[in-house]
């Protein structure tokens, strides 16, 4: 495993990510312009969706059912376990616990992509339908977490005689998650890819496939910078969240790998599923939480998701989940 860890650290994606962090540690003000960051993420997500759609056309329904089932199960387990750990181990308030659950119950698409690339590099590519699973895991966790938060808050507010409609309706916010950039490009890409098939893909793959790894590298440079921006907040969050940001993904990652293997995924596929479960959303979850649970302190969830869990997964988590998957397979 040490070998795999080391090989991972010297591959383009973790190196670019580390460069981004170092850039910030050196107090450089460099960062990618906002629209370039958006352009890269649009490109990566749409490429992922298209490719996934083309491959979905080849997959038998049977081979997907079990993996899809465990993915949805993970979408229920991860927010609940996060909420429980935050609330009863960490002794955080309801809103902060629910806010964190929304982040860890959802998924980070970039971490997913990094995991896919890792599996390709080590010669254990994941199943072609993995992007479909990604879309299944994006929103249930956020739904569940916000529902917990809303229920708990309403309980308290009603006790205090407050106005239960003061904040953004959960419904409205979930519409935003489901029609947000990630879902439009992923689900849209899947559908388009499915219909255009191989011949369509061959026409556009010089754009969407050849450039993918390089664009991902540039994107991770920026992610390193964004994560580096949050490093200063590490002091603010205390030792519990520091540990939480590493232990939680290990736990979710292990569960994900086990369920994946059990559902018949290849070692690469199980490791990617584990990575998804282990990852925390920092795109879809934050605005959703901000609008529905404004009392939740975003410093907690963003620091944990972006400055601890994300780097941990990119630098060490992915090879670890893969080792677990290999261990199970043999």
């Amino acid at each position: 495993m040490i070998e795999t860890l080391k090989a991972n650290l010297l591959s383009p994606i973790p190196l670019a990510f580390a460069l981004g962090i170092v850039t910030r540690l050196m107090r450089s003000e460099f960062s990618l312009p906002k629209d370039v960051y958006s352009a890269l993420s649009i490109y990566l997500l749409f490429a992922l969706g298209l490719k996934g759609g083309v491959e979905l056309a080849h997959a038998s329904f049977d081979s997907i059912v079990a993996p899809a089932g465990v993915t949805l199960l993970l979408g229920c387990i991860t927010p609940l376990s996060t909420y429980a750990v935050m609330r009863y181990v960490g002794r955080f308030g309801t809103s902060d616990a629910a806010g964190m659950a929304a982040h860890y119950g959802s998924v980070s698409a970039v971490t997913f992509i990094a995991a896919q690339q890792f599996m390709q590099r080590v010669g254990a590519p994941a199943e072609g339908f993995m992007p479909t699973l990604l879309t299944l895991l994006e929103s249930p966790g956020i739904h569940i977490a916000l529902a917990i938060g809303a229920i708990q808050r309403n309980k308290q507010l009603l006790a205090l005689g407050g106005d239960k409609n003061a904040h953004g309706s959960v419904r409205e916010v979930l519409h935003e998650v489901l029609t947000g950039r990630t879902m439009v490009l992923l689900v849209g890409g899947l559908v388009v890819g499915y219909f255009m098939g191989e011949s369509g893909w061959n026409a556009v793959s010089p754009f969407f496939e050849s450039g993918f790894k390089g664009a991902l590298m540039l994107f991770l440079l920026e992610m390193g910078i964004v994560a580096g921006d949050r490093l200063g907040d590490l002091k603010k969050v205390g030792p519990f969240l520091l540990a939480f940001g590493i232990v939680m993904p290990l736990l979710h990652g292990a569960i994900g790998v086990i369920l994946g293997a059990w559902a018949g995924l290849s070692p690469g596929g199980a490791a990617v599923l584990g990575t998804m479960a282990a990852s925390a959303s920092y795109i879809a979850a934050p605005p959703a939480v901000r609008l529905t649970l404004p009392e939740a302190n975003p410093t907690y969830s963003l620091t944990a998701a972006l400055a601890i869990t994300f780097p941990f997964n990119i630098l060490a988590g992915i090879p670890i989940y893969y080792s677990i998957a290999q261990a199970i397979a043999t």
Binding site: K34, Y37, A166, G168, V226, D229, I283, P286, P287, V289, R290, L291, P294, E295, N297, P298, T299, S301, L302
Partner: protein, 103 residues
């Protein structure tokens, strides 16, 4: 040129609030608004934007009583939990009727 006195309400807020606030402005009696993107720092720096410190600057020209209603609404609704500031200033406009909603 004959000009009429109105209030300009400027609201600086986290970007997630933009759709909500602009919808509310209409409901509270504004006939329009203008939004500009900016960045800033104030007493806290919490917000969950992809890029922290980014915010929107919303301005609307309204009659004084509407201005009061907007400021009151914004304070009640957002001051506690969000990074939001709001301020009023006096402006003169030509077409008074443009900024006053038929009751």
């Amino acid at each position: 040129m004959l000009t009429h006195s109105f209030k300009l309400v400027t609201i600086i807020a986290e970007p997630v609030l933009e759709p909500r606030i602009t919808t509310e402005l209409r409901r509270l009696g504004a006939t329009g608004f203008t939004v500009v993107e900016g960045r800033g720092q104030g007493s806290r720096a919490l917000h969950a934007a992809e890029i922290p410190g980014i915010n929107v600057r919303i301005e609307t020209i309204v009659p004084p009583e509407v201005a009061d209603r907007i400021v009151e609404y914004i304070s009640k609704q957002y001051f506690a939990d969000y990074e939001v500031i709001a301020y009023l200033s006096d402006v003169q406009v030509v077409r008074g009727e443009k900024y006053r909603r038929a009751p």
